[in-house]
């Protein structure tokens, strides 16, 4: 089977402006888009640059825009895209470093800003802290996040407001604020309760639709909005 990859190319050392380069790939059943990119890099053009590592949808390295939608390249089969031509571009909302590689630092900085760790200053017991299965389920919906950045990159509010912390960070805030073992609400609420935090989300569900791990940041943000409201009244 044959497919054309039309790939966004930009090398800051040599290119004045970006261009699209086409590569024809012979692929086999079961190949992912990442397999196709590897075939190009390893056999046709070693200059093609992209991030990848685990190739099993857990490291979150290979987020890119494929025919207009954000995916993990390793987690979508070429055949499933049902197209003769695949237009591959960097994920939007981030500065481009080279080809499909973007600067993820803003994502990490925003994540760091929301106190992304368990806050609990009580001396721990000898054994584990007890948590019910029901309470674990409340956080289980958010712990699968792989920080690929696809949700934030799919969010128009994230594109429009450079200070918006974005759905990935807010889902992480929810992960801790819903955790019975965490006591960091008073630290986090002032950080997220403002127009560059929670209230920048306009509930359009782009993040939920795009998440490759089927998580629902919109629902997490809605829960956070409730928590913040309850904390005030």
């Amino acid at each position: 089977m044959q497919v054309t990859f039309s790939i966004y190319r930009f090398n800051p050392a040599t290119d004045q402006k970006p261009r699209y380069q086409d590569y024809v790939v012979e692929y086999e059943r079961g190949w992912t888009v990442l397999d196709g990119l590897n075939e190009i890099k390893w056999k046709q053009d070693g200059t093609l640059s992209y991030r990848r590592s685990c190739r099993s949808a857990i490291c979150g390295s290979c987020a890119m825009k494929i025919n207009g939608f954000n995916y993990l390249a390793c987690f979508i089969q070429i055949e499933h895209l049902k197209a003769k031509k695949l237009v591959i571009e960097p994920i939007p909302g981030f500065e481009i470093i080279k080809d499909l590689i973007v600067d993820m630092e803003p994502l990490y900085e925003k994540l760091e800003s929301i106190v992304p760790f368990q806050v609990n200053d009580n001396p721990p017991p000898d054994r584990e802290r007890i948590q019910s299965q029901e309470d674990f389920k409340k956080i289980e919906v958010s712990i699968g996040c792989i920080l690929c950045g696809i949700c934030s990159s799919s969010c128009p509010s994230f594109w429009a407001d450079p200070r918006y912390v974005g759905p990935a960070s807010l889902l992480k805030a929810y992960r801790f604020m819903a955790d019975t073992r965490d006591e960091g609400d008073f630290e986090r609420i002032p950080i997220i309760d403002n127009k560059h935090g929670l209230w920048r989300c306009h509930t359009i569900f782009n993040c939920k639709d795009a998440c490759p791990k089927d998580l629902n940041p919109t629902a997490g943000i809605a829960e956070l909005k409730k928590m913040v409201m309850y904390s005030k009244y």
Partner: protein, 575 residues
């Protein structure tokens, strides 16, 4: 550019991050990592982390865990190290829980535990619930929690820096050189101590569960510095990799009750491990699968068998094995709640590695001489707690437990270590390698050489080995090493040059596969994952010892290190 830090840790998986949390309390600590920390491959571990917490089986204890680990290692594991590991395991897991790791829970709200291969009650009587888990995202949630704690503790990261060269002079480690992947350029990290936590070498094989990043860079850096690597011939094949992809399907799938079936629909493990069946250790299960395939009982006569979990029901699979469902759907178009999963053994774990003491101090010979200022933990190290075959859920434990232990050791001795002057030529030597790759204008491509290496390693140094195949592989490696001298990379630019970094990684692999294959060639016995069809017995008289391999101008030189035996004398290994 030259940086100075008290301690430099290479790698940001479980071992590196856990160590960093300890060391950063008392010393200026930097972590160099070629991928952003949460993208490390520890996150791909699915099924569990072992500890005799006894939350489900109250009679479980560390002594049972120790026996299983020793027997699983085919008696090559060092029993002093294993005892330390299993005794501290319950405390180590509770520490993780206190840091915020979200574990699945029992009815009483304790950490949930499930059965895993080779873990038993009362020295093999029956399978035990010992693997602590978070559905099938255990490695992922521990990795992310340790990263979160690193943020809390202001650990300094050099993300997307690829370590290339280790500075060792007269048995003293003085730092490391790394390539800045984003901007290009070499950086010298001058330090009092260096710790390797750089992971495994599964990428030397074509079918592997490992990430593209797992190219064993740390091992060849150590070899090039004149130091040995240990037990490299022991490579674990995980029994259940997705067919043709090699992507991991957790042992937890069998722990929860999954069956292995051949083309006749028979649970063939009955023939090979009557008591533990599918929950026998990985070396045994992988060999059994490969035997079924080799004898024509693969599905449709092809080189795979079935892993069937459909009888567990959709509800249980969604709750306990959601990632398995997601992976099988997306990669092999199989809904595992209704159909069996096509699987084949996949290169998974490196038992061998950088030899260390139980405190993570790197040693340079069979007598245990320590290299001042150099430490290692996790998959890149060989303490050895896994011996000839690692049990499932013992690797996350190894990373966390010996990561912490090594971190505490570095913290304890850092005041006695100094920032010593180093010779001026190290950066030049490291730069020469980069210049060679950037300027070389040969006719060989990285992708082509690497694929030839990976394919031939599976064929000739795989589950079943013999002298003929290994000798042939040695020849292939020599030729590939020679052809590498005629390499050409397409990308000559500084910014994010993955063509260059892949070439560096290939060179690492070409360096360490030689002692691996030579070690396999000279070890004329069957032990754990090392199976010589031409020498089908374990040979305790000649081979109950660790292999140390050195890279010298005259070729690979071997030395040996005794196995520490305390509580359990070697016995025949049956399951």
């Amino acid at each position: 550019m030259v940086h100075q830090h008290d301690v430099v840790i290479i790698g940001s998986g479980l071992a590196g991050l856990r160590a960093a949390l300890e060391v950063s309390k008392v010393a200026d600590t930097a972590v160099i990592t070629k991928v952003f920390p949460t993208r490390s491959h520890s996150g791909a571990a699915q099924g569990g982390i072992g500890a005799s917490l006894g939350n489900v089986d109250p009679e479980d204890n560390w002594e049972f865990h120790m026996f299983d680990t020793v027997k699983g290692s085919d008696y090559l594991g060092d029993q002093d190290a294993i005892e330390l590991l299993v005794r501290s395991a319950p405390k180590d897991i509770c520490e993780l829980e206190h840091l915020g790791v979200p574990f699945s829970r029992t009815d009483e709200g304790k950490i949930a535990q499930r059965p895993f291969g080779g873990h038993t009650l009362r020295h093999g009587e029956k399978a035990v619930n010992r693997a602590c888990y978070s559905s099938d995202y255990t490695g992922h949630v521990i990795l992310h929690t340790l990263y979160e704690q690193s943020v809390k503790n202001h650990v300094r990261f050099y993300s997307e820096f690829q370590a290339t060269y280790l500075i060792v002079e007269d048995g003293i480690c003085k730092g490391v050189v790394a390539w800045d992947c984003i901007h290009g350029g070499l950086h010298l990290f001058h330090s009092k101590a260096v710790m390797f936590a750089s992971g495994g070498y599964g990428r030397a094989f074509k079918i592997t569960s490992n990430a593209h990043a797992n190219t064993g860079d740390g091992l060849s850096m150590v070899l090039r510095a004149g130091l040995p690597v240990q037990d490299m011939e022991f490579v674990q094949y995980h029994p259940t990799g997705l067919y043709q992809q090699g992507i991991l399907v957790t042992e937890g799938a069998r722990g929860e009750g999954g069956h292995l079936l051949n083309k006749d629909g028979a649970r063939f493990m009955e023939k090979y491990a009557k008591t533990l069946m599918e929950l026998a250790p990985r070396d045994l299960v992988s060999r059994s699968i490969q035997t079924e395939i080799n004898e024509g009982r693969g599905i449709d006569g092809k080189d795979y068998v079935h892993l069937d979990i459909s009888h567990l029901g959709e509800k249980k699979i969604e709750e306990l094995l959601p990632q398995v469902r997601e992976l099988t759907m997306n990669f092999v178009d199989v809904d595992c709640t209704k159909e069996p999963i096509p699987i084949q053994p996949t290169a998974h774990y490196s038992m061998g590695g950088i030899p260390t003491t139980v405190n993570g101090q790197v040693v340079s010979d069979g007598k245990g001489t320590q290299v001042k200022g150099l430490f290692a933990a996790g998959e890149c190290s060989c303490i050895s707690v896994h011996g000839a075959n690692r049990l499932g859920c013992n690797s996350l434990l190894d990373g966390v437990s010996f990561g912490a232990r090594t971190g505490r050791r570095i913290s304890a001795v850092i005041d006695q270590l100094e920032l010593l002057d180093y010779a001026p030529d190290h950066l030049k030597t490291a730069q020469e390698e980069v210049d060679f790759l950037m300027n070389s204008n040969g006719k060989e491509k990285v992708g082509v050489l690497r694929e030839e290496l990976q394919t031939s390693m599976i064929t000739n140094c795989g589950i079943f080995r013999d002298e003929e195949k290994l000798t042939k592989q040695l020849q292939i490696i020599k030729e590939l090493q020679k052809r590498f001298e005629d390499i050409k990379i397409d990308d000559k630019s500084m910014v994010f040059n993955t063509d260059l970094t892949e070439a560096m990684e290939l060179k690492h692999m070409l360096d360490f596969v030689e002692p691996m294959v030579l070690g396999a060639l000279q070890r004329q016995e069957c032990r754990g994952a090392h199976w010589r069809t031409d020498h089908p017995q374990r040979d305790d008289v000649n081979w109950l010892k660790h292999t140390l391999a050195y890279k010298t101008p005259e070729g690979t030189r071997f030395d040996y290190r005794p196995v520490v035996i305390t509580r359990f004398q070697p016995k025949e290994r049956k399951y």
